[in-house]
């Protein structure tokens, strides 16, 4: 199986504080990964490094079998196979339609195709009625749904999700979970998701990385981690002793 991401000794520091130190991490095609860990563990930073938004201080990163050199044409080319739903789901000024069509616009897809895809994606998220609505006026949950629709519109090979259901009520969250599973099985989309919801991790993840203080202290299949966690900190976290 070809690895989509390979990280070796990747570190990142902010003002001399090391917030990320990944000895080795591999992500394979077509799987669903979950990253767990306490606040400030470096989960978002890890997603940002993998999606090439944050430059690592040292180490080696391979994406789609290519070593990342950070030159700008490579960045755009690699990123065009990825999409991300961030923790804050930032919306551009303008309508919901504009936001969802953005990724297709910058790829210069023909207008009719854009309309068709935007319509499909909004329908999928139950947000069709909001197409002409100013995106910055949406509620937190609506915004998160539009952010997901916007990410799906570009049909990414890899989908990064940073707590994608944190603002959603249980029913919507469940819908999203179903949908994540669906695109994963239908389009073989690789999903890398940060979540604080242990049940959600258990329902979705095939593999889990447990992050602590910037380091991966545990990695394994969902079953392994929940039933046979090796590290004491992981066990405590999973039992909710925090």
């Amino acid at each position: 199986m070809a690895a989509l991401f390979r990280l070796y000794n990747v570190t990142k520091r902010y003002r001399s504080r090391e917030v990320l130190n990944i000895r080795k991490m591999e992500v394979n095609k077509g799987r669903i990964y979950t990253i767990l860990g306490p606040n400030g563990a470096g989960k978002t930073t890890l997603l940002r490094v993998m999606s090439l938004l944050t430059v690592n201080d040292s180490g080696r990163i391979e994406v789609f079998g290519e070593e990342v050199s950070w030159n700008k044409s490579q960045l755009v080319r690699l990123r065009r196979h990825m999409a991300m739903v961030t923790q804050t789901s930032f919306m551009f000024k303008g309508s919901v339609y504009y936001n969802v069509a953005y990724g297709l616009k910058v790829r210069k897809r023909p207008e009719p195709e854009q309309r068709k895809i935007v319509k499909e994606c909004l329908e999928l998220m139950g947000m069709s009625d909001f197409a002409d609505y100013p995106a910055q006026k949406l509620s937190g949950g609506e915004r998160q749904k539009v952010a997901i629709a916007r990410a799906l519109a570009v049909k990414p090979a890899v989908l990064f999700l940073d707590e994608p259901t944190s603002s959603l009520e249980p029913n919507s969250a469940m819908d999203i979970e179903h949908y994540i599973k669906f695109i994963n099985s239908q389009y073989n989309t690789t999903v890398i998701m940060v979540t604080h919801n242990l049940f959600q991790a258990r329902r979705l993840a095939e593999e889990i990385f447990f992050l602590w203080d910037g380091k991966i202290i545990e990695h394994g299949s969902c079953e392994d981690l929940f039933t046979r966690a090796r590290d004491e900190r992981t066990r405590a976290f999973l039992q909710g002793n925090f």
Partner: protein, 239 residues
């Protein structure tokens, strides 16, 4: 107080009588200031955006110089342009001194730092998320930069408004390089100076009213423009 009353009365009469000289002066004022604004916008918006987004060496110093020039006294701008355009100056051969073109050049010097500086600030005030979101949706650097500039549109409109206000209101620069020649380079603000000196206080007030009226109309247009921007969110409601 009588002079104000008289001035306002005469002003209304003057405006309604469509005094030919006054119309000519008003049109020249508008022509000079809007030309200067358009040139300042064409140069200043891209320059300000580049300064905000590109990590070019000397950027901080350059920005500080621009912020300082935002307070450039109009007479000083006029003096510098005067020295350049005067017969002994480096551009003396162009014979531009005491023409509307010279007035436009002097006003561009005043407006450019304002447009450029305030555009840079508006763009720099955008959150990192704008770039991140654009980049993760596949935008190239150029496309992302354009998106960030569009997100700053409200601030850029404010920059243009501020610059226009300054241009319409200033006397020093247009006086220095225009010379206040009747029928040629006389504008509203220089007329006020002249009429006051000649003791025509009420006529001066009348012209002042026209300036206010223009400011009012411009503001209406800007509000219309801004409404289109505000429509899509971003307004803070305070109850």
């Amino acid at each position: 107080m009588a002079v104000f009353y008289q001035g306002i009365k005469e002003g209304l009469l003057l405006i309604m009588s469509l005094d030919r000289e006054l119309i000519q002066i008003t049109l020249l004022s508008l022509q000079v200031s809007f030309s200067a604004l358009i040139i300042a916008a064409i140069l200043g918006i891209p320059l300000g955006s580049v300064l905000a987004l590109k990590r070019i060496p000397g950027r901080k110093i350059f920005l500080n110089i621009i912020y300082t020039l935002m307070g450039l006294p109009p007479v000083l701008a006029g003096l510098i342009v005067f020295l350049f355009l005067s017969n002994r100056g480096p551009l003396g051969q162009l014979q531009l001194l005491f023409t509307p073109a010279a007035m436009v050049i002097a006003q561009v010097c005043l407006a450019l730092p304002i447009v450029c500086g305030l555009t840079a600030r508006a763009v720099m005030a955008q959150p990192q998320e704008v770039y991140d979101t654009a980049a993760m949706l596949g935008a190239t650097r150029r496309q992302a930069a354009w998106t960030i500039i569009k997100e700053s549109s409200l601030g850029i409109v404010a920059a243009l408004t501020t610059a226009l206000g300054r241009l319409m209101a200033e006397v020093g620069a247009v006086m220095m390089v225009g010379g206040n020649i009747a029928g040629k380079t006389r504008v509203l603000t220089t007329s006020i100076v002249l009429e006051t000196r000649m003791g025509n206080d009420s006529r001066a007030i009348a012209i002042g009213m026209i300036l206010l009226l223009i400011a009012f109309l411009t503001m209406l247009i800007i509000l219309k423009l801004e409404k289109r921007t505000f429509k899509d969110g971003g307004t803070i409601q305070v109850i």
